[in-house]
């Protein structure tokens, strides 16, 4: 990043800045020190909760990101809900109706979903639903006039909590396309994972036992098959949520969604190092945290997994 990016000092100070000015700025920002020293200084600051100042706005990076994080999280949560519901539903369906036309259609769609570039899907959706049918707006989070004051920054939550349903639906309309776009890839992955996991479980002997007990097919699938197939599905949903935050970069740019993804693209273009470093760090942390949560969920879902306690 530091090697390939254009020198931020020129972007900040302008093309015609004098060498003295540039050198003074570089010293002020600590860019004249060796990279190792810069790294140590940065990490020390980060551990104290200080992500530094943005080169451009001279505002603390923490504040900038906190203002944008709710938008991204809202989008990612919406997307993972869509991806998990639709993905698990169709995954189970195509496993149960294996080799039927439903299965074929679902798997083909999933394959397309996995292969489709996110930004392209986003643009196509905009052209169809926004440009052609005029059903939903093509960008932004909410109509300016309806923007809720204060609150958490999660517009869907804010509008709903004050009972402003008009604004809520307006926000939902804005979020629909980006969320679907972002969900697309994860949905396809979750569908495929659910299908293979369900197929695996459906071939187990205890499924046959369950049928011999006299359970109806719905009971067999719901109570015996799905509960056992859940483990890999939970893993994939968790990992997908982690990658959704980073996947939001493209989606947010396409839909002008004011989250950290679109912001980080802006900052990359103008070599705003402190912001980029902070974004990378946050995304990586979320990813690791999701992995941890998934691991902990295993214990809750599977009675065979018990983490060692004092006595064990």
């Amino acid at each position: 990043m530091r090697v390939f990016s254009p020198d931020p000092s020129i972007i900040v100070l302008g093309q015609h800045a004098t060498t003295e000015k540039i050198n003074a700025w570089r010293t002020a920002m600590g860019l004249d020190k060796p990279i190792i020293t810069q790294y140590i200084d940065y990490m020390t600051a980060v551990l104290h909760g200080d992500f530094g100042l943005s080169y451009f706005t001279n505002t603390p990076v923490t504040a900038e990101l906190l203002a944008r994080l709710p938008a991204t999280i809202e989008l990612a949560v919406l997307a993972i809900i869509i991806a998990a519901t639709v993905g698990i539903f169709f995954g189970v369906l195509s496993a149960v109706k294996k080799n039927s036309w439903i299965d074929g259609l679902t798997m083909t769609t999933a394959l397309i979903g996995v292969s489709m570039p996110v930004f392209w899907l986003g643009m196509i959706l905009i052209i169809i639903f926004s440009g052609y049918f005029h059903l939903v707006p093509s960008g932004g989070r909410i109509d300016t006039l309806m923007r809720p004051m204060g609150g958490t920054g999660f517009y869907l939550w804010d509008t709903l909590s004050i009972g402003d349903f008009e604004a809520f639906f307006n926000a939902l309309q804005h979020a629909a396309l980006p969320a679907i776009t972002l969900a697309g890839y994860s949905m396809a992955i979750i569908t495929r994972m659910t299908r293979s996991s369900m197929l695996d479980v459906l071939h187990q002997d205890y499924i046959r036992t369950a049928r011999a007990k006299g359970l109806s097919p719905v009971q067999v699938i719901g109570r015996h098959a799905f509960r056992n197939a859940l483990l890999p599905i939970v893993t994939v949903v968790g990992l997908q949520f982690g990658s959704l935050l980073s996947g939001a970069v493209l989606t947010e740019t396409v839909f002008a969604w004011p989250g950290i993804g679109a912001y980080s693209v802006e900052c990359i273009l103008r070599s705003d190092f402190p912001v980029i470093q902070a974004v990378v760090l946050i995304v990586a942390t979320v990813f690791v945290l999701m992995n941890l949560i998934v691991d902990l969920l295993y214990a809750a879902l599977d009675p065979r997994v018990k983490y060692a306690t004092g006595e064990a």
Partner: protein
């Protein structure tokens, strides 16, 4: 068996054929006759042993009776109802009368349910018992099969193979079934455990008045528990007789070969073993006429009609052979 015995289960011309699609575009299809035209009566309170080598259709037959497969043709009369005629939904109401114990106790129990959930589920689903009764019954059943009732909150992976099979048995008898199909119920267990489970099964039979269809591939286990034995070969029944008759006087050449393969402890009494020639023909395209003809030492090959199971000299010993009782080397009777 004597006439006053009541028939519990009666199979009439039961068949199960599977269509197998082959070829690149699955255009070519052929039929696998897993079970072909089997007729059989099982009496109330008896233990019927069903033997035959791998792939002869024993398990398919058991699954059809348990309702896991729908027969291609034929009738399954159980307590005055033809199960083969029923819709899937109607058939399910008979699950409380016919239960199955499976071969592999390691994989046939849902790893995510406690023993109590496993045993109580059939009672809840089939609505045979209610509320607090169920918990009491789970404890009673566990004691019946020789497990401590305190085990009910454990998961299957905490048990050994024999214990797991006991759980499977408790699960099967929970709904007070009339018929239990034991599909190789002991073959996955150690020999010492096998004996324990077999003894448990015969105790339970007396205690609950059960009828068993005992499927196995070895004659030894079947001998221990069965009253009558049926021998299957390549999808059809070749001989049905009381246990003693099968062991002392086997009539079908295939049964003779099977019996001669049982090791005898006394070295002075060793019989000559009948070795069958050739391999098991494929059930996809079984031989016309007598199915055993290709491996039979009599090799009569007299007709294209498959021999039907009929009483030998007016006894209850049924055999499907044109020349029953012929020994190797002797001329056909």
């Amino acid at each position: 068996m004597s006439e006053e015995k009541q028939v519990l289960l009666s199979l009439k011309g039961l068949s199960k054929h599977f269509t197998i699609k082959q070829g690149f575009f699955k255009g070519k299809s052929s039929t696998l006759k897993a079970v072909d035209n089997i007729s059989l009566d099982i009496y109330k309170g008896e233990a019927f042993g069903l033997v035959g080598e791998s792939g002869c259709g024993k398990t398919t037959l058991g699954k059809m009776i348990a309702g896991l497969y729908h027969p291609t043709s034929g009738e399954i009369w159980f307590d005055g109802t033809n199960l083969a005629d029923l819709t899937v939904r109607q058939r399910r109401t008979f699950c409380k009368d016919i239960q199955m114990i499976f071969q592999d106790p390691y994989s046939s129990l849902n790893p995510r349910m406690t023993v109590e959930e496993i045993i109580s589920e059939p009672m809840i689903v089939n609505k045979t018992h209610k509320g607090p009764e169920i918990q009491k019954r789970v404890e009673k059943l566990l004691t019946c099969v020789g497990l401590a009732s305190s085990y009910k909150n454990r998961y299957p992976h905490e048990f050994s193979g024999g214990q797991r099979q006991r759980i499977g048995i408790a699960r099967a008898i929970a709904v007070n079934p009339k018929l239990i199909i034991c599909d190789e119920a002991v073959s996955a267990l150690d020999v010492s455990i096998q004996a324990q489970i077999l003894n448990l099964l015969s105790d339970l039979k007396d205690e609950f008045g059960l009828t068993y269809l005992f499927i196995a591939h070895g004659l030894a286990a079947v001998k221990h528990i069965s009253d009558r034995i049926g021998v299957m070969y390549l999808g059809s029944m070749v001989e049905v007789a009381p246990k003693e008759a099968i062991y002392d006087n086997p009539l079908h050449p295939y049964t003779k070969a099977l019996i001669s393969a049982i090791p005898i402890m006394d070295p002075n009494k060793r019989k000559s073993r009948i070795l069958l020639q050739g391999d098991l023909p494929s059930p996809i395209d079984p031989p016309k006429g007598c199915r055993f003809a290709s491996r039979c030492y009599v090799a009569c090959n007299e007709s294209n009609e498959a021999p039907v199971l009929c009483p030998y000299k007016g006894t209850s010993h049924l055999v499907a052979c044109a020349h029953p009782g012929t020994n190797p080397g002797s001329r056909p009777a």
